[in-house]
């Protein structure tokens, strides 16, 4: 390249591209060593067989996958899926108004403060926050005591160790992951587009469906993925807040490895769960791409 004709401060193009590839290497190495390699190992392990001593016989076959289709396990997957869907839906319903409210604030300082508050729970250990829910929900917990003291109920409600507790815990944990991408999408929407909608005869509710939702779809999809994926594989929340009957896929996998010591079967379930999540991710990725929001000027 003739440096004399290059504008001042411009880098030669080749140099920049070469450099940027080098910078990506650590990230690729990380992904390869810590995700691709273990996943391959899990897949191979899932084809092996448990021996009576709790060890592994390296006789490869699909028997673990056939076993994973047992109605007992299908029921657990189904419950996990439903709980994750319910979590996602509740997070969306709670998160959208919050994100919209934050995005509407004219003062940038206030917006940043509110976003900071949304992210504040991350400053405390996840484990401690989940134990806090036990204190809230248990039979002599804060919530039951308060309701009894107010005379609203006579006997404590069974709030802990059931699906309700899991749902409450999951929604609580995942809500920020819904609010943040929604906020990012809503904040980008030009206020005058909402005014234009109103100007053209739409009530606030019609504007919500006809302008706000379509224009924030990327944020909605991102939030749904970010909430649904961790929820469907949740382990700690159902373990601590759920009862013996409300087991989720994550606990099932954990049991195979830590309790039953059937590593190959645990690997098979884990792999199925991974594939299901990847398929869902691929679908959501395609829907966002196909209807990719054209940016205006």
């Amino acid at each position: 390249m003739d440096m004399r004709t290059a504008p001042a401060g411009a880098l030669p193009k080749g140099a920049l591209q070469h450099n940027s590839r080098v910078w990506f290497l650590p990230a690729f190495a990380w992904l390869f060593l810590l995700i691709a390699v273990p996943l391959a190992f899990v897949f191979i392990l899932s084809l092996a067989r448990r021996n009576p001593a709790g060890g592994i016989d390296w006789v490869l076959g699909a028997s673990n996958y056939l076993r994973a289709l047992d109605p007992l396990y299908l029921w657990i997957y189904w419950r996990s899926l439903l709980l994750a869907l319910a979590t996602t839906l509740i997070c969306l319903l709670l998160g959208f108004p919050v994100a919209h409210f934050i995005a509407q604030q004219p003062s940038a300082a206030l917006r940043n403060l509110l976003l900071f508050l949304v992210a504040l729970p991350f400053w405390t250990s996840f484990l401690i926050r989940t134990y806090a829910w036990i204190l809230l929900l248990r039979t002599e917990g804060i919530l039951n005591n308060a309701l009894i003291a107010l005379g609203i109920i006579q006997d404590p409600l069974p709030l802990l160790y059931n699906n309700f507790a899991i749902l409450a815990g999951l929604v609580y944990t995942e809500l920020p992951f819904m609010i943040l991408p929604l906020y990012t999408a809503l904040e980008r929407i030009d206020r005058s587009q909402l005014e234009a909608s109103s100007d053209l005869g739409c009530t606030a509710w019609q504007t919500f469906w006809r302008v706000l939702v379509p224009l924030s779809r990327q944020g909605i999809v991102a939030g749904v993925v970010l909430v649904f994926v961790p929820s469907v594989g949740a382990y700690l929340t159902p373990d601590l807040l759920g009862g013996a009957k409300s087991i989720m896929a994550g606990n099932l996998i954990h049991n195979q490895f830590a309790v039953v010591r059937d590593h190959p079967f645990g690997a098979a379930i884990a792999f199925v769960l991974t594939v299901v999540v990847l398929v869902l991710l691929a679908i959501s990725y395609r829907t966002t791409r196909e209807h990719a929001e054209p940016r205006v000027l």
């Binding site: 030009d190 005058s192 587009q193 005014e195 234009a196 909608s197 109103s198 100007d199 053209l200 005869g201 739409c202 009530t203 019609q206 006809r210 302008v211 379509p214 224009l215 209807h291 929001e293 054209p294 940016r295 205006v296 000027l297």
Partner: protein
């Protein structure tokens, strides 16, 4: 004919900052009215009050005789063309235009007829399947106009719609918009801070200053007879001089500048003592020699300090008693900078009927 839109004694504040003060203004049917003023004069707020995005603190907004001051935007037969067009990026051109029709409870066939008629009006029928990001700035603006017109409003509001366009396209779109307004015989309320744009498009100009109506009238009146010092400055008169004295006479007013020169102007200011004299540069003629017996014109002598070439004319800065006067000389047809050069001694003369007295 009664006015189609009226603002009656409107006051509006934001965070205790007064934006409009007791402002009254009416828009006549099928007139092109421009709200002109610098930023902060309240012109956009006034437009937003008409659209319903804001509501007045005191006073009324009246549309065809009905008080609409506190109606929401979706209940008003008034539509807006936004400054940045505010097209819906997720909808095609035809869906953008038909957006509001869905709220009018029309039949599908009628919706289509009206949407395509609106697209015809702005000559965009061939692009109806495109999306906003596939259109040029001028095309986007036409979509915005069609989207508002399709609602058949009583008044069309336009908020600096040419701000984002380059000079050439801007002039073309101005002509189109003016022609459209004539053809539709629809009242347009147009907001701009560009006085040339206001002069070339409007039937009447309402000049706003610090939330008040400074002056309202046809473009030539605003241009030639500004009623205040602000109006004179805003309409681009550089020659505004403080008066130390003025005396009404039979056929006009004799006035004296701070710097001592006396002039005679034919206009009179009723009751009050005028405080300023303004003369447009193009009303001042220059010559090297004082013309003898110059039929009562005001004549002063000065020295040329600077020349600015504008193509069809040259603006001369002439220093008179350490005060700068600006005179404009037409140079069309003749070559170069005209007859004068810097440091020449010149005589400035202007007719008494061209002097504007300001309060």
């Amino acid at each position: 004919m009664p006015p189609v839109l009226e603002f009656q004694g409107i006051s509006k504040s934001f965070n205790r900052q007064s934006v409009l003060r007791e402002l009254s203004l009416s828009v006549n049917p099928s007139e092109f009215l421009t709200l002109l003023g610098p930023s902060g004069s309240g012109k956009t707020t006034l437009l937003r009050l008409a659209a319903g995005f804001e509501h007045p603190d005191t006073g009324k907004v009246v549309l065809r005789g009905n008080d609409i001051s506190h109606l929401p935007p979706y209940c008003r037969r008034v539509n807006t063309v936004f400054q940045n067009y505010a097209l819906f990026p997720h909808l095609s051109v035809s869906h953008n235009v038909a957006f509001g029709l869905r709220n009018l409870k029309l039949s599908k066939a009628e919706m289509q007829t009206r949407a395509s008629a609106a697209l015809d009006i702005v000559q965009l029928s061939s692009l109806s399947d495109r999306f906003p990001h596939q259109l040029s700035g001028g095309q986007q603006q036409r979509v915005a106009v069609a989207r508002a017109l399709v609602m058949q409003p009583d008044v069309l509001l336009l908020d600096e719609p040419f701000g984002a366009l380059d000079q050439r396209l801007r002039q073309q779109m101005q002509q189109e918009l003016k022609a459209l307004q004539r053809r539709l015989e629809l009242a347009f309320v147009f907001v701009t801070h560009d006085q040339e744009e206001a002069l070339s498009l409007s039937d009447r100009i309402a000049l706003l200053h610090e939330g008040r109506l400074d002056q309202i009238g046809p473009p030539d009146q605003i241009y030639n007879w500004p009623a205040s010092r602000f109006a004179a400055e805003f309409m681009g008169i550089p020659n505004i001089f403080r008066l130390s004295d003025s005396k009404p006479e039979a056929s006009g007013t004799r006035c004296q500048l701070d710097t001592g020169e006396t002039f005679f102007v034919t206009s009179v200011v009723d009751g009050n003592q005028p405080r300023f004299l303004a003369v447009r540069p193009e009303n001042i003629s220059l010559s090297r020699m004082s013309l003898p017996g110059s039929n009562g014109d005001n004549v002063i002598r000065g020295r040329v300090r600077q020349a600015r070439y504008l193509g069809s004319s040259v603006l001369w800065n002439v220093e008179v008693n350490s005060v700068v006067w600006v005179a404009s000389e037409l140079v069309n047809g003749s070559a170069g900078m005209g007859s004068l050069s810097v440091e020449d001694e010149v005589y400035l003369s202007w007719e008494p009927s061209r002097g504007v007295l300001l309060l």
